[in-house]
């Protein structure tokens, strides 16, 4: 087959919604785009462990502590499936870490915001995991098989995370006045960054069109954002909390909520590294990796010794 016919075969699969598998031929740019997207997603899971990990030792009840610990552990698990999915595209986990540590690879900017009170555990579960689900459910039908399959598992767990976050918010909103204040303060701080999680507006999103063509992406950033707003406003009403957007209004004609302008300067500023926690998060990851080097070396050395001993025993 010529490159031309490889391409034709690939296009046919994409158009017919047939999954692309690791051994299938795929255009270089498709592979690159997937590595970028999957690894960015994996890094987000791993870096995303830190803001919530910040409250494990201070969780206010034993039940909350156990649930939070299990949740952060799930995120590590998601990172693991996603790194594995990325590895099927011909890149190693060590290379992916290297890209994270050098700043070449990005992770979701939301994790560059600090978790200041216990209510942030509620807001992250409710809003951040809620936004992640909106982004990720369509990815379960993404054209690349290993990614789509990883996302099926991830989404099941995320919906549990979202519920536990909402339950924290519900408890706080129905609690003492200062607990309700804590919940409102968390909503005030996490609302806009959560909307930014869907990425820049469609008109300015460089990758959207090609990704839609390849069926890596199924809905545009703005479509997903609108869906998220529509669902979340109702949930905030049940909590009795106020979404910090004075322009938020139901639009009968559109059948959607209209909302205020997003501060994209803030978004790009955080992407560039100037968020409240960018340096702290990356330094923490780099330190964990550097501190763990001797442990990984020891594990490798021991495995080699075992192998050598086995070979000697066999020979004798």
């Amino acid at each position: 087959m010529t490159v031309h016919s490889f391409q034709e075969h690939f296009d046919k699969k994409i158009d017919g919604d047939v999954a692309i598998e690791p051994r299938d031929w795929m255009p270089d740019d498709y592979r690159k785009t997937l590595i970028r997207q999957i690894s960015q997603h994996a890094h987000s899971e791993i870096v995303g462990m830190l803001p919530e990990g910040n409250w494990i030792s201070r969780a206010p009840s034993l039940r909350r502590k156990a649930v939070l610990l299990a949740k952060v552990q799930d995120e590590a698990g998601h990172g693991l499936y996603l790194y594995s999915a990325a590895e099927t595209l011909g890149i190693t986990r060590d290379e992916l870490y290297e890209q994270l540590h050098s700043g070449k690879a990005k992770y979701s900017s939301i994790f560059n915001y600090p978790t200041l009170t216990w209510a942030d555990m509620g807001a992250i579960g409710w809003l951040v995991d809620g936004a992640a689900i909106m982004n990720q459910v369509p990815l379960c039908r993404c054209s690349y098989g290993p990614y789509a399959r990883a996302m099926v598992r991830v989404c099941k767990e995320e919906s549990f995370h979202q519920r536990q976050g909402y339950e924290i918010m519900l408890t706080l909103a129905n609690g003492a006045p200062m607990q309700k204040k804590m919940a409102q303060d968390a909503l005030d701080r996490w609302w806009w960054p959560s909307l930014m999680m869907f990425g820049p507006p469609d008109a300015e999103s460089g990758n959207t069109e090609q990704s839609m063509r390849w069926r890596i992406k199924r809905l545009t950033n703005d479509e997903l954002r609108q869906k998220f707003i529509d669902v979340t406003v109702e949930q905030a009403n049940i909590l009795g909390l106020t979404i910090p957007d004075k322009d938020l209004k139901w639009n009968e004609e559109r059948g959607h909520y209209d909302s205020g302008a997003i501060n994209w300067d803030e978004f790009w500023n955080v992407v560039k590294g100037n968020g409240p926690c960018n340096k702290q998060r990356l330094d923490t990851r780099k330190k964990a990796w550097a501190d763990g080097q001797w442990v990984r070396d020891a594990a490798m050395a021991h495995a080699e010794k075992r192998k050598a001993r086995k070979a000697t025993a066999k020979a004798a």
């Binding site: 494990i56 030792s57 763990g292 001797w294």
Partner: protein, 275 residues
């Protein structure tokens, strides 16, 4: 000490051991050297925490049925005494979040800081080896609640011990650096292993009732178990010298105060609320 108070003290100690070790292990979450190990260690932290919760629930039930006069003086904690005077039944969270360090009964070993992977492995290994023997005996306890918790814990402990033994061997028989770090961790933590086998009043009282056991009798088996793994790990067994004690009677190292300051922060800053 009467029988119920001794049983309560004993149950609390087992719970405190689980909570404090679980707390220490959970400090690794997100910071582990290998992603798979981050997950494994968090799992273990969850096991310790889960066991602690079952034990605290049982301890709370024991406390709530004490005579009023005993309840009022059992813990030196303003918040707990207030609940008692108001006639409120206490629960697992009251025990974890409202007691000060001198009412915590955990052994000193579990409050030692993580330091590095070698210290963390050594601390877990010493404790897991003890637990594997202890819970096997406790499963035969004539206290049904403790026997049931022990039975369930045994399955988890078997996994914990396999994990920490394997890491002992990997680090001991890995590189020169890992060998040196592992040996240092073992040498330094050794002085905290003696307390696992000491008998205080509560231990003696519950042993006499067929609820607990003679802990000192577990030590020879424990040493055998440790020696077996050390042999494979090419680690030297430290000589028995001075052993630190005090935790079982509420006299702790300086570390516990900071653990509790962090653990109890929200409950202390916003008292009496549901979370």
């Amino acid at each position: 000490m009467n029988d119920q108070k001794a049983l309560l003290q004993y149950t609390l100690r087992l719970a405190d051991d689980g909570l404090i070790l679980g707390h220490r292990l959970s400090e690794w979450c997100g910071h582990g050297p290998i992603l798979e190990q981050d997950i494994a260690l968090t799992n273990t932290a969850l096991d310790h925490l889960g066991r602690a919760r079952s034990l605290y629930q049982y301890a709370a039930a024991l406390f709530n049925t004490l005579p009023e006069a005993d309840k009022a003086t059992f813990f030196t904690s303003v918040s707990l005494q207030k609940e008692v005077s108001e006639g409120t039944a206490i629960d697992e969270d009251d025990l974890a979040y409202l007691r000060d360090g001198w009412d915590y009964r955990n052994v000193l070993l579990v409050e030692r800081p993580n330091e590095d992977w070698a210290y963390t492995v050594a601390r877990s290994f010493f404790y897991d080896a003890f637990n594997s023997l202890f819970f096997k005996e406790l499963a035969k306890s004539n206290d049904e609640s403790l026997a049931a918790i022990a039975e369930k814990s045994l399955k988890e402990v078997t996994y914990h011990l396999r994990w920490s033994s394997e890491w002992c061997v990997r680090l001991g028989d890995g590189t020169d650096e890992s060998h040196a770090r592992m040996q240092q961790a073992i040498n330094e933590l050794w002085a905290y292993t003696g307390e696992l086998f000491t008998m205080n009043d509560a231990d003696a009282a519950v042993a006499a009732q067929g609820i607990g056991m003679d802990l000192a009798a577990l030590r020879p088996q424990w040493k055998e178990l440790v020696a077996l793994v050390f042999d494979e790990a090419t680690m030297a067994m430290p000589a028995d010298a001075w052993m630190h004690t005090g935790g079982k009677d509420g006299r702790h190292t300086e570390y516990l105060g900071y653990i509790l300051a962090e653990l109890q922060f929200v409950q202390r800053a916003y008292p009496g609320m549901e979370w």
